[in-house]
């Protein structure tokens, strides 16, 4: 489990875009570096990110090695009904983590 900070407004307006911000603690090791012994440090990045809203895919992103450690993702979402955003990311070790945030339409 890695640490994640999610910022989503608690209450949003129907049909109006709001920002979802996500900060993930991850080394994002690029695979380009070598250690003190000259051995290549294996790549370890978050390689895919999927956000769904009540099961419907909202955003899918592939991430690449040029992204710095502790990546920050921000995107806009529009919803018609209250529901739950689920954000799933996968890293090179195959670790999958899902974080959720509920959104209430007023």
């Amino acid at each position: 489990m890695v640490r994640v900070l999610i910022s989503v407004p608690k209450r949003v307006k129907r049909g109006e875009a709001f920002d979802v911000k996500l900060l993930i603690s991850h080394p994002m090791e690029s695979g380009q570096r070598r250690d003190d012994m000259g051995q290549a440090i294996p790549r370890d990045i978050i390689n895919s990110f999927v956000c769904t809203f009540d099961g419907d895919e909202v955003l899918r992103a592939d991430l690449f090695p040029a992204i710095a450690a502790n990546p920050f993702l921000s995107f806009a979402v529009v919803v018609q009904e209250s529901g739950t955003l689920a954000m799933t990311f996968t890293d090179d070790h195959g670790a999958v983590q899902t974080e959720t945030a509920s959104v209430t339409v007023e």
Binding site: R3, L5, S7, K21, L23, P27, A69, N70, F72
Partner: protein
Amino acid sequence: MSRLPSWCPWPFLQGGPASLVLAGLLALTVAPASAADKRSGYQDASPETQAMQDDDAANPGFLWVQQGETLWSGRVGNANRSCADCHGAAPATMRGVAARYPMFDARLGRPITLPQRIQQCRVERQGAAPLASESDALLGLTAYVGLQSRGMPMQVAIDGPAQPSFEAGKALFTTRQGQFNLSCAQCHDGLAGQRLAGSVIPQGQPNGYPEYRLEWQGMGSLERRIRNCLVGVRAEPFAADAPELADLELYLGWRANGLRVETPAVRP
């Protein structure tokens, strides 16, 4: 500049007119910035870095704050006690605390930094093993306590028994050291605002620690930052938790008095 080693990588420093110009620059009056001229490293950071610090959702330091908040209420050690069991809710009880550190500890007879105080509490009151220095847990707790003072002016006391430590710290700040034979004051008092290669030389104000440095891609303490600078002038860095470091941090803290606490700051 004659004391530069003969293998110095910058041949122009070895002699000739250019070295005289540089020597002249370094000889400029070195005086601490007055209260009005105090400048947080925030003001020297790029607009993008400032924006990152301004938005708590984008500031990676809050990943550590989040961890610290969890640890605050976690029971540990032989005493099976959490920070919250004694100190209660941090937003109320820890407000303004970090702005007063480093603080003179009468029992130890020397100044103590905030991470050292947390370690002291952990060992003596919680009966737990100390956290590793620069560990995420220690940085997290320090950041969480520091955050409670955000926006408050630094007010480090140097009177009474702290005076000798303060003088020792001041002496360290103004003493030339390392193979480059530079003192902290030469750059951070004398040349602050000018450039070292592409980067602006900041005043070196410690009002945002522990801070997230983009260069580190992680969180670090003031101690780590000082070590960074010492290696930069090719001096032998102080050992972890060396008393000299606390003296130096006391001087730096006093020097920043009046600047607002920015923990967790984001710096390049």
